[in-house]
Symmetry: C2
Subunit: 208 residues, 2 copies
DNA sequence: ACAGATAGCGAGTGATCACTTTTTATGTGA
DNA sequence: TCACATAAAAAGTGATCACTCGCTATCTGT
């Protein structure tokens, strides 16, 4: 009943935030094609007119959303703790955390936008700076994590293997629940990758 | 001038083939969202009415296309020659071939449909048998290629690493030309994976 | 040759898309 | 307090979507 009495800037920022959050959720749950302006506006609890006041086109909304999730993803990657002298188990544990980061809704949103950008030159161009920044930050994070385990010239290759493997995994895992525990195959794959990073000699499991 | 005089079955099969090929091309070049029934019909050189005579809904067309490209992908995987006693270079070469297979339009089409299926339960369900068949055939192909190099229980994990890495690569490579030569990082990554497969001990490159 | 069946065409059809315009609410500066 | 600016809502607008329908063209069995 009582008026909240917010400033214009507060009102503006609040609805923009709600729109961006709604777009993330919409992309993660319904996919790119079903992320329509009306669906986003409805999810945000505002009108379409409000949406188009702050984002002139749908693409502008998507690009802004991409930048938001790119920042979140960078923060999540940097949040992975590094160990000064890690063993195989520690690296495998980090890879497990990395897996859950890659499977998170924010990363799912990012993937959805990347896939759409492949066939949309305008979106691809608009996403380029965020993509480069993300890559750079991830290489820096990889240096923090594994810089003393690998020769510097191999870091990009190993990072590419790990991240693309996890992305490919997220993308071929069509299970409705992305936070499900990893299967045996994935578990063993992470183990092999951990060996690749730590001692560069994966142990052959003896068959009992 | 002269009438070609084809049977009904020939006419039917011909337009169905043209529609499926057009759908593959459309998905690979324009992406899922832009693969509309009118675009496919135009690319196939037939009317929309002809399309809907053979495929009651758009989803039926997409599912049929998925089954076609899944078969093509299996054939491409099985076409990779195995070597009875391969060294690192041979395995790396096979991985290079595998990369070009994964980057092919047929595989790009498959990925596009998989991504769309994530947010579309009906499509996901319809794609399930093709997905299982593909996975099975790929494991068989991997056994042919690397069965005598790896312990059997590690085959699924290694296959998962390789294939998902390449898929993730295809999916983050937004270059307009997918047949471009692999960059230094990708080259080194394939080398490391070859070592992982062959001698399970990647060589550390000395810095000159 | 001819009746019936199948294939293909193209003009619709309602729904929904991204987006615009008009109108109403809500802060802001003087 | 009140003219003004900005934010949000409500009601459009043309274009395009998946899909239908009536018609013609082509083939098939007899």
């Amino acid at each position: 009943m009582t008026a909240p009495r917010r400033t214009q800037a507060e009102r503006r920022d609040a609805t923009i935030t709600r729109l961006l959050d709604a777009t993330v959720e919409c992309l993660a749950t319904r996919g790119y094609a079903a992320t329509t302006t009306s669906a986003v506006a409805a999810a945000a609890g505002v009108s379409q007119g409000a949406l188009f006041r702050h984002f002139p086109t749908r693409q502008d909304l998507l690009v802004a959303t991409a930048e938001v999730v790119a920042e979140r993803n960078v923060a999540a990657f940097r949040g992975l703790a590094g160990d000064p002298s890690p063993d195989v188990e520690a690296v495998a544990a980090v890879l497990g955390h990395l897996r859950s980061v890659v499977l998170s809704p924010a990363n799912q949103t990012w993937r959805e936008l990347l896939v759409a950008a492949r066939a949309d030159p305008g979106l691809r161009l608009a996403l380029l700076p965020a993509r480069e920044g993300l890559q750079e930050q991830m290489l820096a994070a990889a240096t923090d994590l594994w810089g003393n385990l690998l020769p510097p010239q191999d870091l990009p290759a190993v990072l590419s293997i790990v991240v693309n493997f996890l992305d490919g995994l997220a993308f071929s895992a069509l299970d409705p629940d992305p936070s499900a525990p990893p299967g045996r195959t994935v578990e063993r794959a992470l183990e092999l990758l951990a060996h690749l990073i730590v001692d560069r000699r994966p142990a052959t499991e003896e068959i009992p």
